[in-house]
């Protein structure tokens, strides 16, 4: 990480701490915003959050490593999550996953070389009445076919 990147990240985190307060209960909100802006929470970011909340960096890491939507390793700009839980599984989520894998030339859990997409499985997205379902970042797409899933993927910049 460049020094200038570090400075701007520190400034960003300082603003978040100002916005949410420096209480421990602000930790998840701060982490979620950093995750949203950078698609991961770097070790440096975790240390800075810890410093500003006056807690040990390992406390921050323990939280980042616990939640499925928080990552400490870099990911693509867009995170694609395909629901793998029972109802979507019965509606052949496998075909959706295969189509997405073929189209992007990567396997589930991987990131494209241009860092545009990370694809992964998610546990129940709560869209069982409209499966198979997937989410691209915060948006959800339902009643998918392999072709439609790829179409949605291509509509993302």
């Amino acid at each position: 990480m460049l020094v200038s990147e570090k400075t701007s990240l520190t400034e960003e985190i300082e603003l978040l701490v100002q916005k949410y307060g420096n209480d421990r209960s602000s930790l998840l909100k701060i982490l979620q915003d950093v995750q949203k802006n950078h698609r991961y929470i770097s070790e440096f970011a975790q240390q800075e959050i810890a410093r500003l909340l006056k807690i040990h960096p390992v406390e921050v890491y323990s939280v980042v490593s616990f939640y499925a939507f928080l990552n400490s390793k870099p990911k693509g700009r867009n995170i694609v999550r395909i629901c793998r839980t029972i109802t979507c599984d019965m509606k052949n989520k496998e075909a959706i996953a295969k189509a997405v894998e073929r189209e992007l030339g990567i396997k589930m859990g991987e990131t494209t070389k241009d860092k545009k997409f990370t694809i992964e499985y998610a546990n129940c997205l709560g869209l069982c009445d409209e499966g198979p379902a997937m989410a691209i970042n915060e948006r959800v797409y339902t009643k998918l076919t392999p072709e439609k899933a790829v179409e949605y993927l291509n509509s993302v910049k």
């Binding site: 998840l28 546990n123 009445d129 959800v140």
Partner: protein
């Protein structure tokens, strides 16, 4: 996602309601009167555990503290349930009016909705709705012009962890920690969010409150059975023509549920999601009620073409991933049960070992720290027992359930 509010019909939650009416009625009553009506209604928690709401609220109301909290549990993570998503999108007036009435009754000034990370798409419409309530003086300071009646609601978005649906894990998460269940006692009604008295209630439970306040506990009891009063919102999915949410009185049989949802050639029904039990055809006359088949509302239908071992594998993979790892029975137990499923799949098992795994499942039911590990062996035990003929003559087939 389609908004089907105008087509929905039901006796309680899906009946007509003018936003704000529940709050307007509540403020004409004393806190004791409201608690009495809720006690009279025998309303039980709709998240799955079925704890009496009046007991929880009475304890929270009686707790002496300058700060109390109402938390709406919208961490709907159980496979096969999506009713809370529908309620939050289509009936936010019931959820939030219910929370305001709860705040009035137990003396809390703040409400928090714990919205699961997967439902972040609902955040904007919910926040817009809250703002509308503030504009109409149904939320915020001096609600309806009543001095000292201050109550506001904040929405907290989770970051995806199934275990946070357990109320003490949810509170840990709100406090900025890993979502690990606490030892109980103390219970949240005494020592909850930030160590203050906190009532955690499911979305659907809160939706019942405005109707009980308006119509009384006695009216509510007219629906359902003696022990299971009122109605339940069922999320039906899987092999049926009309997967959707349905409001039906407690006591409805599985058979009726299958007819309503247009299910055909049904072999089995999973009641209560992955953590529930799998009921075979021979028992479709059983009733959905706390006294027979209790459920948080997740109903997954399997037709004759489904492979129950693959279904079980999907469930066990879910639990291995979602166990928080805090206590040993759950962390190791779920792995062992999944290994057992894989052994059956490969044909490398002995019945002696499988019986040991069922024993292990029973140990997990009593020795796990929270509801996750206490209920995760349910499907393993019920599927192996109810579908043994199919499973042990199983030939390795397709790739999905």
């Amino acid at each position: 996602m389609e908004n089907k509010k105008h087509t929905r019909k039901g006796d309680i939650i899906f009946s007509d309601y003018t936003p704000g009416d529940g709050i307007k009625k509540a403020v004409t009553l004393s806190r004791e009167d409201i608690l009495f009506e809720i006690k009279d209604s025998k309303l039980k928690g709709r998240g799955g555990a079925g704890f009496p709401v009046s007991t929880k609220w009475m304890l929270a109301a009686a707790a002496i503290s300058d700060e109390k909290y109402i938390v709406c549990n919208a961490d709907e993570g159980e496979p096969g349930t999506f009713k809370d998503r529908v309620l939050l999108y289509e009936y936010p007036e019931l959820v939030f009016d219910g929370m305001v009435i709860a705040g009035y009754t137990i003396g809390a000034k703040k409400g928090i909705v714990y919205l699961r990370g997967e439902y972040e798409h609902a955040l904007k419409p919910l926040e817009d709705y809250l703002q509308k309530m503030r504009d109409e003086n149904l939320l915020g300071k001096s609600i309806l012009g009543i001095r000292n009646f201050n109550f506001d609601i904040e929405i907290f978005v989770g970051s995806s962890a199934y275990v946070c649906g357990e109320e003490t894990a949810l509170i840990e998460s709100l406090e900025g920690n890993r979502g690990e269940a606490r030892n109980r006692p103390p219970y949240p009604v005494n020592t909850g969010f930030k160590k203050k008295p906190t009532s955690v209630n499911n979305v659907e439970t809160l939706c019942c409150i405005p109707h009980i306040v308006l119509n009384g506990g006695n009216w509510f009891k007219k629906f359902g059975t003696g022990e299971s009063t009122g109605t339940k919102i069922f999320s039906i999915s899987g092999d049926c023509e009309k997967p959707d949410v349905y409001e039906l009185p407690w006591g409805t049989t599985l058979k009726e549920l299958l007819e309503i949802s247009g299910a055909q050639n049904t072999k089995a029904v999973q009641i209560g999601g992955a953590s529930g039990q799998c009921v075979p055809k021979a028992q479709f006359n059983r009733k959905l009620a706390y006294e027979d088949l209790p459920t948080g509302g997740s109903i997954i239908v399997f037709n004759e073409s489904r492979n129950m071992l693959k279904v079980l594998k999907n469930f066990m993979e879910f639990f291995v991933e979602e166990s928080c790892g805090q206590c040993t029975p759950c962390r190791i137990g779920n792995r062992k049960l999944l290994e057992g499923v894989n052994m059956i799949e490969k044909g490398e098992y002995t019945f002696t070992y499988l019986n040991k795994l069922k024993e292990l499942g029973k140990t997990m039911q009593v020795a796990s720290k929270c509801g996750l590990g206490q209920s995760s062996p349910n499907s393993f035990i019920s599927i192996l027992e109810n579908f043994n003929d199919e499973i042990f003559s199983y030939n390795n087939g397709g790739t999905h359930a």
